[in-house]
């Protein structure tokens, strides 16, 4: 595995499976009375968040703490960053403090690439602009494997997502979740289809390892997984679509549309949801929905990522 996790494209199939299998081993911790491993004791993980994202930050924080790492939360608001300090100076500050890993969330695509050039430690991309969010894709893959392959723990070892049909719906153009998922899920053997209005697809999406459709209803009966993306109100003013209601009518997942899915299919959403826009409340709260499960799996998957990037080789306390 590479030293950093910046793009899902950094992961070979073997790398991705190693992370998912490691996460399965770590998941068994969650059932123990003491959920903590001493593995990263004495190592420092910095959560460097330039965007508000409480859910992702606490997920990484919980992951690092369960591995006994020291965690420093550095959020842009109220810090020197808010006073106009450059990313480079922030990086040099973290470097001086001796960060072993920096988890970065940033509004600019490519910020983690830049950071990786200025720090010695591992850089983990926790979402950069409209580029990628690789740990989200990993936790999604983990969730899909558990739910649709019905496997967990050691039984899941080495199992990919071959043949699973995933439809990702919505604002692909601006979605870091979509980019990472297309790359990772296809690496793992899934067949990915993007369903969106043409305005919300990148111009050259034809070169991506996935299929493209403008017609969600057509895709639903052949989907094992439907992944709904958050759609933002401000896209309307930039003429990506005429109105939120029309968007919802054509691409929102309501009860009637959910009924077109095969019996076994699951519904995913990276959160935060716009209930009543891209997903109806009844769908979000249905048995098909994995939304809460995704959050729990996020911690486990991120533990696996930190563990592997920071040089772990085995889990004596888990495997014994």
């Amino acid at each position: 595995m590479k030293r950093h996790l910046i793009s899902a494209a950094d992961l070979s199939r073997a790398d991705a499976l190693l992370i998912l299998d490691t996460a399965e081993e770590l998941a068994s911790l969650a059932d123990r009375p003491i959920k903590k491993l001493p593995t990263l004791r004495g190592r420092t993980v910095v959560n460097l968040f330039f965007e508000d994202s409480t859910r992702t930050r606490i997920s990484f924080e919980a992951a690092a703490k369960r591995l006994s790492a020291d965690v420093i939360n550095f959020s842009a608001k109220g810090s020197s960053v808010a006073k106009g300090e450059s990313l480079k100076d922030t990086a040099l500050t973290l470097e001086a403090m001796g960060a072993d890993a920096v988890v970065i969330r940033h509004g600019a695509s490519g910020a983690p690439h830049r950071l990786a050039g200025w720090v010695q430690g591992s850089v983990v991309n926790a979402g950069d602009g409209t580029h990628e969010h690789p740990t989200q894709a990993l936790l999604d893959a983990f969730t899909i494997r558990r739910r649709l392959k019905g496997l967990s723990g050691a039984a899941a070892r080495g199992e990919g997502l071959d043949g699973i049909r995933v439809t990702i719906v919505g604002d692909v153009l601006h979605s870091r979740v979509a980019r990472s998922n297309v790359l990772l899920l296809s690496t793992l053997g899934a067949e990915v289809t993007l369903a969106a209005p043409p305005t919300l697809l990148p111009l050259a999406v034809g070169s991506w390892p996935c299929a493209v459709s403008y017609d969600l209803d057509n895709e639903l009966p052949k989907s094992d997984v439907v992944m709904m993306l958050r759609v933002q109100q401000e896209r309307m003013t930039a003429a990506y679509f005429p109105s939120i209601r029309e968007y919802s009518r054509r691409y929102g997942l309501d009860v009637a549309r959910m009924a077109r899915l095969p019996e076994h299919a699951i519904v995913m959403h990276p959160g935060p949801m716009n209930r009543g826009v891209e997903i109806a409340a009844e769908v979000a709260d249905s048995a098909r929905s994995t939304i809460v499960e995704q959050v729990a799996n996020g911690v486990t998957t991120r533990m696996a990522v930190l563990y592997l990037l920071l040089g772990g080789t085995e889990f004596p306390e888990v495997t014994q």
Binding site: S86, A108, G110, A111, R114, G129, P202
Partner: protein, 444 residues
Amino acid sequence: MTADHINGQAAWLIRGATVIADPAAGEGRLTGPADIIVSGGSIVAIGPGLSAAGARVIDADGLIALPGLVDMHTHLREPGREDAETVETGTAAAALGGYTAVHAMANTEPVADTAGVVEQVWRLGRVAGHCDVQPVGAVTMGLAGISLAELGTMADSAARVRMFSDDGRCVSDPLLMRRALEYVKAFDGVIAQHAQDPRLTEGAQLNEGEMSGRLGLAGWPAVAEEAVIARDCLLAAHVDSALHVCHVSTAGSVEIIRWAKSKGWPVTAEVTPHHLLLTDELAVNYDPVFKVNPPLRTAADVAALRRALADGTIDCVATDHAPHPVEAKETEWSEAAFGMIGLETALRVVQQAMVDTGLLDWAGVADRMSVRPARIGRLTGHGALPAVGGPANLTLYDPAAPAEPVGYGASKSRNTPFAGMELPGRVVATMLRGSPTVLDGKLA
């Protein structure tokens, strides 16, 4: 007569150069290397086996003698951003790149939209003395695109402005563009347009295509350039006035310009060295040294631009030398400034992209980098092929110099996309009106 003077004038004997001369003139019939004697700011003799008692000798064996290069598109940053470049440092870089004249773009602080500012820039160029500085005037007040700047007053000033441009911004209002084109006819002016539809490029970061989609950077579509060029060509034809298209970057733009020229319309165009060599794939690691406006495009665009420069559809190479301080590039891609420096590497890039590929010979280089840019800029005293009696503005270039990695030079800024890249050739000497500004590759 003292040493190195003839009739009291400083004299130089350039020995054994391959002279790129006008084929219609006597010098054009040279079949081999020749000597050039320079005195009093002019060329006094060209021919084999010349001697000039007391003249200082430049050994030009294996070198090409080009007319001094002329850049149509330079950002010297002074006044206002002297932390990035000054007229002194920018023209030193120009001389080292083989230039004897540059056109200084108007987007300074304050903007060069009055006679006062253009005369200041012109005067700073004279003081620096490394090359001639021809100020470009802004088309609109403050580059705001709302009302015309005093174009006639700048034309009448000591700076003798003939080319006007809001470069960095597009004159997007079609009525204002029409009026500007019309108005400058009174003094043989030319409007140099930065073709970029502002609505189609809001927040744009990188050529819209496979790379922008993959990297999650807002796309800068080719059509945003091409639509404006098409409109401007039609306007130029309608009012019969001169349009110059800055930094053409797409294959589609080339087709439109080719069509406009086939109609006989008064349209000229330039291409930058970086658009002749680099593609948007270089953005893969988000290093903003590759961030420029218009953006780097695809390999197909690069190929089309090279062909267009070779066949003359694109008239000239212009650097769009755009210095920025370190901190403007040591940042996130979307925060970083657009622009690259290029004066010191332009000729080497052109050799690599055009000459070594067989697309252009050295006479073609002289035409595209000196003769035509001087003509388009209405610049007198430059852009003349070496000829007896003509001005001694010369560039001596060694195309056989082994390829060496590009380093940092005289520019105050370091935002060169070619850093570390191995490029062929070397500018050995530059001569401005008979005085060397560069000798042995160093400032004289």
